[in-house]
Structures are given as C-alpha cells and as structure tokens.
C-alpha cells in the first residue's frame, strides 16, 4: 500500500492518534455507550449483539438497541415482533458476575406516536396529529424521522438509568453518519425561520405572512396540491408544544455522542469496497469529534499454509484439492492485503479484531456467545 493510496483513503486527517488502543474488554468495561457502524453486509448487527453479550458476561447490565436485525437473529434475541417488543426484552441465561443482557428493536413509528401522546396534554389534539396525513407518512417512512426517533428513544433508554451500557447498532455506512448527525440536524431544523414561522400561532395557511414561508408553502401547493399544504401547516403547528423538549433532548444526545465514555466500534470486512467505505466513515466520525476505538474485521477467509510442489497434478480428486487450495490462498492473501488499510487507520489508537469467516450464519445465543468470547480473546492486545 503506497502513501498515495493511503491518502486517498483520507488517512491524514486521522493522525496524530488521540488515544492509545485499549483492549476490547477495557472498552466494554469503561463505556456507557457503544455504537457500531460500518458498511452493509458485514455482520454489524451480529457483532453488536456479541459485544453486548461479552459485556454482560463481564458483569455489566447491557441493553442492545438494533435497527433492522435479520429475522433469525431477532428470534434469538427475542425481539421478533416489532409491536410487542417496544420495551426492552431481557434475555435469560446471559450475564455473569451480576451482569444482564436485554435487547430492543428500534421502532421509529411507535416512538413517534408515543412521544406525541405523552407530550401533548389534550387527547383530542394528539388524536388529530396522529391521524394527520403528513404526520403518518413522516412517522412511517421519512428517512430522517427514523434517525430523529432513534435519538428520542436513545435518550429515553439512556436516562432510564436501568443499564450500565447501551450498545447501539446503526444502519449501514452513510446512514450511520446520518444517525450520528441527527441530533445536530434536528436542532438546526427546529431553529429554521421557515419552521418557526409555520409553527407560530396563525390559524390557517392564508394567514402565513412570513415571505420565505409563503414561498415555501406556495411551492408545496404547486407541486402537491392544496390539501397537502393544509396538512403540512397543521402538522408543523401541532409540533409547536413539544419542540422545545425535542430540541433539548437532541442537544443532550449530541453531547452524549461526544462524551469520552462513548465508544464507536467500526465493523468491516476485507473486501476492497468495504474497506474504502470504512475509511470514508472513519474519517467522517473522527472529523465530527467522535471516538472511534476499535475496528472489527469480519468474514476473513482462512489462509491455508503454502503448498510446495504438486504443480504437476492435473487430474483426479487431488487436482481438485490443489486447485481449490490455490484459489483459497489467493483470495485469503488478497484480503490480507486490503486489510493493511484498516490497520493503518487504526494506527496505535484503536484495537483491530480479526474474525474469521464463520461456517454458519449466526442465529442462536450459543453461537453469539462463542463470538463474544472470540472478540474478547482476539481484542486483548
């Protein structure tokens, strides 16, 4: 790997290191919040769950918050049904030395609904918001709303003080940055002049007088029809009573992300594409003042020892063995070459933990516990 290709990965920004690497056990013992991030398809959710189990077995009261677990993993954690599992679910049989392990799936829509109900004093008013068309679509599918509600829920769970450690699993790559930026973005949005004008006390669209806001609504009306404008105005206005609280909580979570006992753990794989996405992400999180503490590299193919001779074998079962050995070794070496970039990013500041490609997909607690043990053992340097 040349200096040039390293700077392509944006590594300059990461130097000099701000901390020295801690073992993974130390990170899990000392953090109050661990956030996993990384590209898609690298086993992020599985790793988050295994980190939680590892910490629970070290005596901590752990809650793992996941976004979109694969079905069988969700089953193993007992959080299959989104509706029923709004509250954290305690997983029995995990946790030693006084530790415990719970899991919860983040349900943005339910969180939003509850926030409206709890923070609105008048039931008729909250019913009106909940049936608002703009609200329904925002709560259900708006990309940003998912992140805002993650913040809201994280705040609730963190301030409940029921857990020593929260492990938060984020959606893939660029979205992970979205999630980490969500508190700041929400604060900005709630302070936006258009938003403020919309939530002032005018009774209807016709009386919105702020020029920028009129233009905004004019565009919405031109693009999507007048009915949507009324709904939009009503929706923003209905938020008026609860926005101060949202803003407050978003600021608190923004501060929480930057606390020194908050650790980011990057999960990646040795594919070139995943490595470059990880480099991009590492840069972005460090730039934002967050502490990236460890890199877990999953799905590494085993490197068989070199094979001397046997070049002349061209047929029969042995030829299959020799060919397969050559291909596997080629792939495994190529992966190790790509991983140099990840160890360079880590430098002296982060622990790098290399987990071999597993023979089976992980979907029960024994397998997760097994990975938890490996993480701690391999992350002890």
């Amino acid at each position: 790997m040349t200096a040039e290709s390293l700077s392509d990965l944006g590594l300059r920004l990461l130097a000099p290191a701000r901390f020295t690497a801690q073992s993974l056990a130390d990170i899990l013992d000392r953090s109050g919040l661990v956030i996993t991030c990384g590209p898609g398809g690298v086993g992020k959710t599985t790793t988050a769950a295994a980190l939680g189990i590892a910490a629970a077995n070290r005596g901590r009261k752990v809650l793992v918050i996941t976004v979109d677990p694969a079905r069988r993993l969700a089953d193993a954690l007992g959080i299959k049904d989104g509706g029923k599992s709004y509250e954290p679910h305690r997983v029995r049989g995990i946790g030693e030395n006084g530790g415990s392990f719970s899991a919860v799936m983040l349900d943005a829509e339910a969180t939003f609904d509850r926030m409206i109900i709890e923070r609105t004093d008048d039931p008729a008013k909250s019913a009106r918001i909940l049936s608002n068309r703009v609200y329904r679509s925002i709560a259900g599918s708006l990309a940003g709303a998912q992140d805002y509600m993650a913040i809201e829920r994280l705040h609730q769970l963190h301030s409940s003080n029921r857990y020593d450690l929260l492990v938060v699993d984020t959606p893939p790559s660029r979205d992970a940055i979205d999630l980490l930026e969500a508190p700041d973005r929400l604060v900005r949005f709630l302070g936006h002049p258009i938003y403020r004008a919309l939530t002032m006390s005018q009774r209807s669209f016709a009386r919105v007088t702020n020029a920028g806001t009129s233009a905004f609504l004019w565009i919405v009306r031109k693009l999507a029809g007048p009915a949507l404008v009324e709904d939009t105005v009503e929706f923003f206005r209905s938020l008026a009573g609860i926005e101060d609280g949202m803003r407050q909580r978003a600021s608190e979570v923004a501060a929480l992300f930057r606390q020194t006992d908050t650790a980011l753990v990057m999960v990646s794989s040795p594919r070139a594409e995943a490595v470059s996405e990880s480099a991009f992400l590492a840069n972005a999180v460090v730039e934002r003042g967050l502490c990236l503490r460890a890199i877990v590299v999953n799905m590494i193919h085993p490197l068989p020892p070199e094979l001397d001779g046997l070049d002349e074998v061209v047929a029969g079962s042995l030829a299959d063995h020799v060919d397969f050995h050559r291909q596997l070794r080629e792939l495994a070496l190529s992966e190790r070459h790509e991983m140099i970039a990840l160890t360079t990013i880590a430098g002296d500041a982060m622990t790098v933990i290399e987990i071999p490609l597993l023979e089976v997909d992980v979907h029960d607690l024994d397998q997760l516990t097994n990975i938890a043990v490996r993480l701690i053992t391999l992350g002890s340097s």
């Binding site: 590209p39 898609g40 398809g41 690298v42 694969a70 079905r71 069988r72 679509s137 925002i138 599918s141 990309a143 940003g144 893939p172 790559s173 979205d175 002049p193 258009i194 920028g212 806001t213 233009a215 905004f216 565009i219 031109k222 693009l223 999507a224 029809g225 009915a227 949507l228 040795p270 594919r271 070139a272 594409e273 193919h301 085993p302 068989p304 020892p305 070199e306 094979l307 001397d308 001779g309 046997l310 074998v313 029969g316 079962s317 042995l318 299959d320 063995h321 020799v322 397969f324 050995h325 596997l328 080629e330 792939l331 190529s334 992966e335 790509e338 023979e359 089976v360 997909d361 979907h363």
Partner: protein, 323 residues
C-alpha cells in the same frame, strides 16, 4: 449441485428499456450491474449505467473516469456496443424538476431556496421519485438501448422502488401525483422495465432476497429477471475425498506439510460447498425464478479483468440453473 439445466437465454437482459439491479449491502449488486452492462454491450447494445447512490468507482471499473452527474463514455465494445455511465444526485434531479415545472429564478433565490432541500428530504420517497422520474425522462428521450440502474444499497432498494406507489397514497393531486403515476406505470410495464435481484449463497442474504422479491413484485408490480447468485465457489467433486485418499488414488505421496495445507483448504471448501448447495436448493424451492450463478472471485478487489470474467459467466449456460 449438479442441477445445471438448459441455459437461460441471455436475451432477457435487453428485453426492457430499463434494468434495475438490486440487492442488500455487501452482495455485490453494483459489480453485477457493471458486469451486466458489459455483457449487453458485447451483444451490441448502447448501455447507460446509472449509479443512483453515486458510486464513482464504477467508472474506472469499466475503463473510464469516476462517475459524476454528466453522461460519460466509459467503454466501446466491438463495432456497435458501448457503455456510458453517470450518477443522478437527488438534489440535481430536484433542481431539474423545479426548472421543468417553471419554479425557478426569483423564487429559488428567496429564503425558500434553503428549504427546498428540506422539502425534498422530508417528503418520504420524494427524492427517490425524482430520480426515477429523471430515468423515465431518459427513457423517453431514447438515451440508450438499455438503462442499467444500480440502486441504493442496504435496505433502500425496496424503498427506492416503492417510492412511486407510496407517494400515490399521500399525494392526491398536482405534478408530484402525475409524476408518481407515470413512474409507477413505467415500473409496472414489462416492456419498459425489469428488475434483477442479486444475492449470495448464504442464509441471511438468501432469506432477504426472497423477502425483497415478493415485496417489490407485490408492491411495485415490477417484472423480475433471472436471479443472480454471486460468489459461488465452483463445484469440485474431488473435495469430497480426503487429500490423503486423493493422493493415494493418484499414486502420490504427500509430505506432512502438503497434507496439512490441503487439509485446511479442504475443510473450508467442503463446508462452503455444502452451504452453497443448501442455499441454492432453497432458492430454487422458494422463488419461482431461474437462477444464474456467478463464480466466487479469488481476489478481494474487483478490477476490469474480474469484471470481464463475471460478464462471461453471465452468458455461460453452465451458470444457469433450472428454477
């Protein structure tokens, strides 16, 4: 395995004007989109590859510069075939759209301008719809024989394709509604548009692709092409025999270190072959789609050579499995 049957006729690739390629993160759907573009160009097609999420690296992979929002010639193939590439940033699609609807100039320079991004970002599916709308325009202009669309990764492929029908539910009039109607019609028309799903022969990716297939077929009504299973280790029946016995059969005496090396690869190879066979059988059982398998590359970094290898495999009848 050994389920190889009649080759899937490769004409499926160019059957519609738009070929949407989708898969969860990490399964290699962008690479497959590039390989499909190459395979089509080899058949003489004029291909436009669009990376919705803006993966600039697809440009160099096909022999050109990194992709940006301008149309760029990446590669000429044979006498007629060529591949061009570009991205469609949602922000640009939105600006184009506003221009088209006559919302420009003064209004765009008011305080509302700053909010336009907010409108686009905070209306569910609007950004996706605008990108699809732009693709629809490109189809209408006859921009290429086939437009290959590399969809956003992770869980967003379904959201991307469902954006039109989702917006039809909340917007009842105005240009956004018209746009949603037209895009939904394009996606549902098999002569206009089809979708290729990509997965890996592993349990979770297989479960997810089955879910994705039913989801988009049901909600979007899009026609699905053969399914592409990426990263399949080639079948090697010899691995079933232990290296020691294989050597004895070949009258070769292995040294201890040779035996150790082959034992490590054989153990891994057998378990991967079992997993691959199980998952391919599961796909054949649970999804009524023909399957095309692509070989596992022996490098962690896909370059032009590997891409050519994948494009070969896409049209190789040995890659096809009966459904």
């Amino acid at each position: 395995m050994g389920l190889y049957a009649l080759g899937v006729n490769e004409a499926w690739m160019t059957r519609a004007r738009v070929l949407v390629v989708a898969g969860k993160g990490g399964v290699g759907s962008s690479t497959v989109a590039a390989a499909l573009s190459l395979a089509m160009a080899r058949r003489g097609a004029d291909v436009l590859l669009i990376s919705v999420d803006g993966r600039p690296g697809l440009g160099p992979l096909l022999g050109g510069e990194p992709l940006d929002d301008r149309d760029q010639l990446l590669k000429k193939v044979g006498r007629k075939g060529r591949i061009r590439g570009r991205t469609i940033p949602p922000r640009q699609a939105f600006a184009d759209y506003l221009d088209m609807k006559g919302i420009g100039g003064v209004l765009r320079r008011t305080a509302a301008a700053a909010s336009l991004d907010t409108i686009a970002a905070s209306t569910p599916g609007l950004e996706h719809l605008l990108v699809l709308g732009k693709i629809k325009e490109l189809v209408r202009e006859g921009a290429a024989d086939v437009i290959v669309v590399d969809t956003p990764p992770a869980g967003h492929a379904a959201a991307f394709l469902r954006s039109a029908t989702a917006l039809q539910e909340i917007v009842s009039s105005g240009p956004v509604r018209t746009q949603a109607d037209e895009v939904a019609a394009m996606l549902g028309d098999r002569t206009q548009c089809q979708a290729t799903l990509v997965t890996l022969p592993e349990e979770t990716p297989v479960s997810e692709v089955i879910e994705l297939a039913y989801d988009i077929e049901h909600h979007v009504g899009i026609t699905l092409t053969p399914l592409i299973v990426n990263g399949c280790w080639p079948e090697r029946s010899g691995l079933a025999v232990s290296p020691r016995i294989a050597a004895r059969d070949a009258d070769i005496k292995l040294t201890a270190s040779q035996l150790r090396a082959l034992d490590v690869s054989a153990r891994f190879g057998r378990s991967r072959q079992r997993l691959t066979a199980t998952q391919l059988e599961r796909l054949a059982r649970e999804l009524p789609l023909p399957i095309i398998t692509l070989p596992r590359l022996t490098t962690a970094r896909v370059g032009p050579l590997e891409l050519a290898e994948l494009a070969d495999a896409l049209v190789d009848e040995r890659s096809s499995m009966a459904s």
